[in-house]
Symmetry: C2
Subunit: 339 residues, 2 copies
DNA sequence: TTGTACGCGTTATCAC
DNA sequence: GTGATAACGCGTACAA
């Protein structure tokens, strides 16, 4: 984009190859057949001149940016690497560029979107980065959008991809109750408006119910799906008078880290005194002490799938409105199992 | 970028506001004074029409993409979130876009760069994503580049930002020796060509030397700066005949996770039997059991600084060729300290 | 198979 | 302070 660096244009190539710019363009995008000799000459000149087409000019002419974006809330979370990695692998494979930005609707944004029709061909949105209104507006304007970990706003039908939350959670809690005979299980929920957290809570309740255990609201505490808040929440829970409990299900693994820490500090042994289980199966979860029993959620797969859907949308292909990737429990030691 | 979505152009705004496109442009970039009334009218029309300038057209006219890129090797690492977050905060503040891509020179790339003069105004490069030749070529073409965790290739003077490695490592090992009387300290190094790892090794050696401890090459093992390889390396070390040792310094925290795991599996207690210390101070390091004694390296700061330098470069300002951000040891419990 | 001419949406250079 | 007008570099009818 900088003048001095890539000042060689398609016209230079054309001239030096003794053809018209149009022909070079055709060669570039093989949008029309051209004679072998000419093709070779162009190729030769192109590499001689180290010609690289200007993305901007191309975009302007084509009305396509060949870039897609992903909008996150806070980039600084262990949850994102696999997600972004998954997205990027597809994006790169398609020869597109990936724009990344953070934006948090909580702090009252109403400025222009960092990523939108003005600089991208499509967008993957993570919960909390856009309001429902903004999502809807984008979608209604015909801008390709794929939602992740979030369902389409009321009345709309925007493709969304997330994971099976309830089923695996149900199995996980079943395991705690049936195998380890835990009956007072604390649930550390995520942000109130987080759909995944809500569904995980449903799985938790269902398991309780099936086993004839009464749901105790005093056993529910709120983290924010991150280790620090979860640590605080659990510490506070332990300090104030609290019901007896013999297990903790943290809505995600990151929270489990904070919870385990709080438990350790109070001298509670995991899993002897308290079983702890999470959700996500972060790469590091197997390395915690004790290794965390959790639910494996294909985060990278969500990224890949969302990106693939976005490209389908770009190609005007049909995409299933909602897709749930399968999850499965992984038993390690924090629940009480020996391996 | 998509035709249907944002078809309102500067011309539409101009017409509806009863002025010329030029005036609207001037208002947008306040590149020239305009009368208050006109300004207000334009503002009004702009928000009525929800006008958003086309990035492509702007780029073509300006020869600037208003985007910078960061080139990483593998996106899926806990090390990156703070780094990217730091970069993005500056980028957003400058009203720029952030392009992210991964590329690993190890697998013999020679295709076109995912990010370069064709789609960005500048680039932040992480070790392993570009060969020295590629870096040099970019730089010589006048393309702004900032190196992180890597020094400028032979003979060149490209700005680079990284952290103080040797000094803090030296202090860390001093601590192990002086306070905890450890004398047989294993060093788990990073990738062979990694400059940080090399400098950390220097600090390690210096401390040994000062304390009259002979350097024992059998105590050096190779990880790859990630928990899995480090786990493998340490496990193998423990299984084969190995020298006695009473401490491990892992080149980074991620490796420490794998090492601690391997140690635990063999029934070695940390820190009672073996002290373990790392480098980086990942957000999760304080949450390991035991909490990891390490060196706090300002990863987010490196990202911010690199981005700031890049913007200085874009503004044709001077930038120091090499800057080292300060690090400092943080004592937790894995070394043997009680708090 | 190839060339010509115009348009994409914006900014920059002149005039006024 | 404001308005024409010419780039910017590429794709794409349309014509040949």
């Amino acid at each position: 984009m900088s003048r001095k660096s890539s000042s060689v244009t398609i016209r230079d190539v054309a001239q030096k190859a003794g053809v018209s710019p149009a022909t070079v363009s055709r060669y570039l995008n093989d949008s029309a057949p051209i004679s072998p000799e000419v093709a070779e000459r162009i190729q030769q000149v192109m590499s001689d001149l180290q010609y690289v087409p200007s993305a901007a000019a191309r975009q302007l002419a084509t009305q396509k940016s060949r870039a897609i974006g992903v909008l996150l809330t806070d980039l600084d979370s262990v949850f994102f690497p696999p997600l972004i990695s998954g997205i990027e692998s597809i994006v790169q494979q398609e020869g597109y560029n990936l724009l990344v930005a953070s934006r948090w609707v909580g702090n009252g944004v109403d400025a222009q979107l960092p990523i939108g029709p003005h600089n991208a061909d499509g967008l993957i949105v993570f919960p909390g980065s856009l309001t429902d209104d903004e999502i809807l507006k984008l979608h209604q304007a015909g801008f390709p959008v794929v939602l992740i970990y979030q369902s389409s706003p009321e009345g709309s039908n925007i493709p969304s991809v997330t994971v099976w939350n309830k089923r695996a959670t149900r199995e996980l809690i079943d395991h705690l109750i049936e195998v380890h005979h835990r009956r007072s299980i604390v649930f550390v929920r995520g942000p109130a408006d987080n759909e995944d957290s809500q569904r995980r809570e449903l799985g938790y309740q269902e398991s309780l119910e099936v086993h004839g255990i009464a749901y105790n609201p005093n056993l529910i505490i709120s983290g924010e799906y991150n280790r620090n808040d979860a640590y605080q929440a659990m510490s506070k829970f332990l300090e104030n008078g609290h019901p007896d409990f013999d297990a903790v299900f943290t809505g995600n693994d990151d929270s489990a880290i904070g919870v385990m820490n709080a438990l350790n500090e109070k001298g509670l042994r995991i899993p002897d005194d308290i079983s702890v289980v999470g959700f996500d199966d972060l790469e590091l979860s197997a390395f915690l002490t004790p290794p965390l029993t959790t639910v494996n959620a294909p985060t990278e797969g969500v990224g890949k799938t969302a990106a693939q859907y976005l490209f389908k949308l770009l190609a005007s292909q049909e995409v299933e409105p909602v897709t749930l990737l399968s999850t499965q429990i992984v038993i390690r030691r924090s629940c009480g199992c020996s391996e």
